[in-house]
Amino acid sequence: MSIFKANSVSVNRAELAIVNDVDLQVERGTISVLLGANGAGKTTLLEGLSGVIRIAGGTIELEGQPLQRARPGARARAGLGYVEQGRTVFRELTTEENLRVGLHDSADISEAYALFPELVQRQDVPAGLLSGGEQQMLVIARALLTRPKVLMIDEMSAGLAPVIVGRLMQTMRKLADEGLAILLVEQFAALALDVGDRAYVMRRGRMVYDGDCKTLLDAPDKLHDFYLGSANTEG
């Protein structure tokens, strides 16, 4: 039984149908990877799932509870964590204050510092002055401290150095092994497929692949076509 389910979700943006009739399920203790070329509709799908924009059709369930009509705040309090792309730190708040904003009663800030020791020495620095990588760690840590049951991360590695990306991937694996359900949108497809369990691929607003990561990893040509297109791939 999946903890988080989206059934035939469609999302429009400025009247354009960006996501069409998409199904998606995330299981406890696993990493699902959502892939697709830029503009395929991945971010729009996550925004629809998190409530940032209203969905045009379909249902969303977390632990059997329907969420498609709930405000984003209510979805968050129900246990759906969402890290937006673009490192949405509160720039004028310090690192420590950023972490305290959504701090769950059962969570402790030291967990964030244990996960990302780089942040310790930056705890009193306004988040706007952190480097891109540090900001990315901060928003991920901040989301984890809300004790989500499902965590969706958009473009986790965008603009990050490869070393940090590798470490973040290992961290995600560890969190999943501890029971978290994770949905990653990732542009470094190969790396994400390596740590992920289940893969989804979107193309032009539709889900064109739903299967395990291993299969996709073993068929690099297919992946290449999904991303870069080719003269003989039809849409």
Binding site: S50, E84, T88, F90, R91, E92, R100, G102
Partner: protein, 289 residues
């Protein structure tokens, strides 16, 4: 020289009220992103709860507290309208809404309080507090300025040192990111409206005896309030506070000169004009568009 000082000191009560209203305007703008043209009208509603109860023979201080409660409720009602229907609107739309609401509030206020005929407004704090270079400083003026400073200090303390304050700062910077972390955005926004409602109500009660206390004149104190807020560029509490005090003192000074005293209502306009010309040297693009 002494007559100048007398006029300046005479402006201090207004100065304190302008400062407090200005700081409240900054508070509302920074935390819920609304340039609030109903700010003074909300406080005026509370003041008239006090006047009505007092006229009806209720004792003064319970009436004062009822008046503050009235201002709080008026603030919550406006806040409810703003957060329910205009949470996602552009800043200029929100401002336009408060202008429209101001028209309605003044009409309702004038109707309920019997039009423009003056009311008896009890002087809450009669008498003089101390003498400054031979000029009496009234308790009312010392109190409004004190209250303005207190509100500024409280706002600073509250925003920086409490969990709710932290949520408010997060909310004001990135409402969606705060909401995605589970912050109760709507509840907090209405809380901001309630706080500013109660403080402006109290400020207006103190300044009302000095003005002709009818609903419209008091509601229009929003103009010097916004002028003060603009001096602080809708950012800095302390500069808005200083701006309000300077505005009141200058108004007092001008009142001392015979030829120009009747034009003192134009002072906020001149201040606003000056601040805008000075502040927009670098600005180019509207962020949102």
């Amino acid at each position: 020289m002494n007559s100048l000082l007398t006029s300046a000191v005479a402006g201090l009560t207004a100065a304190g009220a302008y400062a407090l209203l200005g700081v409240c305007a900054v508070f509302t703008y920074r935390l819920v992103a609304v340039v609030n043209f109903t700010g003074a009208a909300i406080g005026t509603a509370g003041t008239f709860v006090l006047i009505t109860l007092y006229d009806a023979g209720f004792p003064l201080w319970p009436s004062v507290f009822a008046g503050i409660a009235g201002g709080t409720i008026a603030g919550v009602l406006i806040g409810f309208v703003m957060t329910t229907w205009f949470a996602e609107s552009a800043a200029s739309t929100k401002a336009a809404v408060t202008v429209a609401l101001l028209v309605g509030l003044i009409a309702i206020g004038l109707r309920l309080t019997g039009g423009q005929h003056p009311h008896v407004m009890p002087d809450l704090f009669p008498g003089s507090a101390f003498r400054l270079a031979g000029v009496e400083v009234t308790i009312a003026s010392a109190l409004t300025i004190g209250l303005a400073v207190l509100f500024t200090l409280l706002a600073d303390w509250f925003l920086n040192l409490t969990r709710t304050g932290l949520h408010l700062r997060a909310l004001s910077e990135r409402p969606m990111a705060a909401e995605l972390l589970g912050v109760r955005v709507k509840l907090l926004s209405i809380f901001v409206w309630a706080v500013t409602g109660s403080f402006t109500a109290f400020a207006l009660m103190i300044i009302a005896p000095q003005r002709s206390p009818n609903f419209m004149t008091l509601s229009l104190l929003v103009v010097p309030a916004l002028a003060a807020a603009l001096v602080g560029l809708f950012r800095s509490f302390w500069i808005a506070l200083a701006g309000g005090i300077v505005l009141g003192v200058v108004e007092g000074l001008v009142s001392g000169f015979d030829g120009v005293s009747q034009y003192r209502g134009a002072i906020p306009f001149l201040v606003i004009l000056g601040v805008l010309l000075w502040s927009q040297r670098g600005a180019r693009w509207d962020d949102a568009r």
